[in-house]
Amino acid sequence: MAVVFEKPHALTDVDLHYCPGCTHGIIHRLVAEVIDEMGIEGDTIGVCPVGCSVMAYDYFNCDMIEAAHGRAPAVATGVKRSLPEKFVFTYQGDGDVAAIGTAETVHAASRGENIVIVFVNNTTYGMTGGQMAPTTLPKQVTQTTPFGRDTAVNGFPIRVVEMLATLSGTALAARVAVDTVPHVKEAKKMIRKAFENQKNKTGFSVVEVLSTCPTNWGLSPVDSLTRLQEEMIPYYPLGIYKDVNVRTVREVNA
């Protein structure tokens, strides 16, 4: 019988620990499918973060490194500079990329480090029980903003890919979501583009994936997807913010 659907080879058989309804599983799968399709599993080194995806080293079949909180882009730099012909990606959450690891993220981009960052934004610290993240929306209730994020006290959420798109070293900065089938397909396309950039030595690629956290949001999986659509996407618009392979709007107008 013809096989029409199967688990990507780049994923191991270890059971994922993610909560029901969490979209990490989809994003893992997309990364694994891209690795399979490009036939690069044996040449890929993944770096996972501290946060919900801390144990991703058990889930991906390629060689994996567990980094300290926020340091994945620096660790990936060390690997890539040692092994420039190999593929190196990091898989990180919002606290990792945009709070404790902001410096590592920004400078990896500024150097045009030829790596891929898959950045999962679910507007909260999932692993530690739902505290305020750098991407927590204004008025969003979390464990450490029990009355809602007050921007007068906690400041404003960081739009990561918009910020990284301003840096000359960035080749690709895009935001995708995994709430609908068309969005999932677009997300995969963007992750593929990021890995292709690395293959072509184009530079630093970051793909931000809007994701859900039903457990810490206190919502059902379906309601979580609705929140992603109604609250997150308006604040974090989807799209490509920088792609060195195509001329930007500004360049076309100039």
Binding site: T12, E41, G42, D43, T44, I45, V47, V54, M55, Y57, D58, F60, N61, C62, D63, M64, I65, E66, A67, A68, R71, A74, V75, A76, T77, G78, V79, K80, R81, S82, L83, K86, A103, E104, V106, H107
Partner: protein, 353 residues
């Protein structure tokens, strides 16, 4: 072998290249500046990578990545910068990744000063990072030894999968001495654990320090501890000067050992049976070597450029069977031979007590 006149920091950097260091990651700080400056010129010429990181924290994590990838890698800093690297060093220990870390010590705490110091002994030997983690600590006392110990540090780090530190200081880093570079045979340590891409011909490797099950974590810690015990059995290094009949043994390492040697010579000229014991490895600490050096000692004087840190290890090694005194200057002040000689004389007068 041809001798060259070189600055300690530059000789150390050249030795690292010859020892096969392929990647250097660092962040500027005085007084280790010449290490990075030299490598930025010379490492790329020798097929290596020099990268100035955005912080000490990033630099040590780049080292972590390169070490996981299986290449010889090094970072260099000075006291305040080493504190910043502490997190990464603990992760390197936890993931059993070899690397070399240079600390050209300056005065502390905090920003302290930029003059030579030995005040990071405790940090280096006891708690360079959190958890049950240790690193090799080598203490050179000459430019030539900066060279020799860097080569040993790379080899031993690979052999034991334990990071190695060169604990130098601003004096050794800045001074110039004749130095020769020994022929170095390429180290052949296999690294089957490296996360360098499995090439579809082995199961995936994982570099990791996370073990959520306490029994698994405990087992991994005891396994690593057994390597530390092995280091204590076989990897200690020490140097002796006039210890055979010495009644007053001065214990000192690094820069202060040079001053103490002058003081011991002067004491001998005055008929005092003084000797110098110099630990070369600070971890593992050469306990048995110290006992041997002190077999005829009535008193021991530990001299450090700190308020007294190694002195505790000296007391422990001697099991308090011989009185151990301390003399130190700190904050970037280097003790003079006359000061040390005065202490030796004082102990000699009271050696019967």
């Amino acid at each position: 072998m041809e001798k060259m006149l070189m600055k300690g920091n530059e000789a150390l950097a050249e030795a690292a290249i010859r020892a096969g260091c392929k990647c250097f990651f660092g962040y500027p700080i005085t007084p280790q500046t010449e290490v990075a400056a030299y490598l930025s010129r010379q490492l790329p010429k020798n097929g290596g990578v020099f990268l100035q990181a955005e912080s000490e924290v990033a630099a040590i994590n780049m080292v972590y990545g390169a070490a996981a990838a299986g290449v010889r890698t090094m970072t260099s800093s000075s006291s305040p910068g080493i504190s910043l690297k502490a997190e990464g060093i603990s992760y390197l220990c936890g993931a059993d990744l070899p690397c070399v870390i240079i600390n050209v010590q300056r005065g502390g705490p905090g920003l302290g000063g930029i003059q030579p110091s030995q005040a990071d002994y405790w940090q280096a030997t006891k708690a360079l990072g959190h958890g049950d983690s240790r690193v090799f600590v080598y203490a050179p006392n000459s430019v030539q030894e900066m060279v020799n110990l860097v080569v040993i540090a790379f080899d031993k780090a690979d052999e034991y999968r334990v990071p190695a530190m060169i604990l130098a200081d601003g004096l050794l880093g800045q001074m110039m001495e004749p130095v020769s570079f020994p022929e170095i045979s390429a180290n052949k340590t296999e690294k089957p654990w490296a996360t360098d891409g499995h090439g579809n011909n082995r199961p995936h490797n994982i570099a990791n320090s996370l073990y959520l099950k306490p029994d698994v974590l405990e087992n991994s810690i005891w396994e690593r501890d057994s390597r530390y015990k092995q280091m204590e059995m076989t990897e200690t290094m020490a140097d002796y000067y006039c210890c055979d009949d010495a009644e007053i043994v001065v214990a000192a390492y690094g820069a202060s050992s040079r001053i103490c040697k002058s003081a011991v010579k002067a004491a001998r000229d005055q008929g005092i049976k003084a000797g110098l014991f110099r630990p070369v490895t600070l971890f593992p600490f050469p306990k048995n070597e110290l006992k041997t050096a002190c077999r005829n000692a009535k008193k021991v004087l530990t001299v450090e450029m700190s308020t007294g840190q190694m002195v505790e290890d000296v007391k422990l090694a001697l099991e308090c069977k011989i009185p151990v005194e301390f003399y130190g200057r700190t904050g970037g002040i280097i003790p003079t031979p006359d000061e040390v000689l005065a202490e030796i004389k004082k102990l000699n007068e009271n050696k019967g007590e």
